[in-house]
Symmetry: C2
Subunit: 199 residues, 2 copies
Amino acid sequence: MRVLVIGASGTIGKAIVAELAERHEVITAGTKTGDVQVDICNLDSIRAMYAQVTNLDAVVIASGKVHFGKLEEMTPELYAKGLDNKLMGQVNIVMEGIKHLNDKGSFTLTSGILNRDPIVLGSSAAMVNGALDGFVKHAAIELPRGLRINIVSPTVITEAMAGYAPFFRGYKPVAAAEAALAYSKSVEGAQTGQVYIVG
Amino acid sequence: MRVLVIGASGTIGKAIVAELAERHEVITAGTKTGDVQVDICNLDSIRAMYAQVTNLDAVVIASGKVHFGKLEEMTPELYAKGLDNKLMGQVNIVMEGIKHLNDKGSFTLTSGILNRDPIVLGSSAAMVNGALDGFVKHAAIELPRGLRINIVSPTVITEAMAGYAPFFRGYKPVAAAEAALAYSKSVEGAQTGQVYIVG
């Protein structure tokens, strides 16, 4: 398969590439690195990416930013950051990709644990992850041409604990390589509309 | 208690008012009807509502619009309608309400079945409902002064089946009065961070 991995230089992205590159042709994408550059907040940039990278069997997205902040200090503008980037960035990659992926191709998105098991400062993450899980569950029933879609919802990643540990006390991390298995299941399996909880 | 019901003239809103008015002082709000008018998409309008209606023990929101349309015909602008109205409308009512509700007051929001059990045309509803469920689960852990928050996620309502039946074949509707019980549980109980699934 030809697989595009967006966010390939990130902690999870690198593990996904390592897992999939053993068996597939992987094209990497990132804001500044990779085989192709893309700004997921910019629809024209997403369109340019699909014009450049064709004949795709799978798109994996391990990218998306939200603002972390105290609930009482959140504003509509701070929520918009997560809605524009992690939510609509991933949704727009799907919506544009519908026109470009090969028949029976797949999308694999990334949400996260915080809408299921919240931490202080994470209200935007909880909102955006919930939106993504709902969108994916829905999109599976309307995608044309046998296209599939799943989402991986990992807990905190071991390799990220150096920075994240103070915010995730008591959370059992999982290695990026273990999270990458869920992406492999989505890309190489046949399921659709699934939220793969990791950890 | 003094309870503000936003969307009080709607199918569910009327049933909520009927349930709560037996035991509480209910103030009704709507875009054009009710004791106070509010445009939930307009932050200034929300602020004006809280300036007008004070000394509140509970805010109930049974209001929120999303665009229904085929997945392949959805656009960022059509998704923005639901994000601006049903999602951020309710979120902004909470965020502003934090400054105004009485100690130990409660917020009760409304999502719906479509992020759990999708129907064709409902991708925006699935997205927005998931976002709301995640936000509420989160907000409960950060709300100050003993404030509580829950959300009611009803299936299709019996009284709305005249228009909705073709879109909800096979769905067992619940009467608005039954959905209203979940709002009563949220307002009059002590739980927080709960998604009350009705139907």
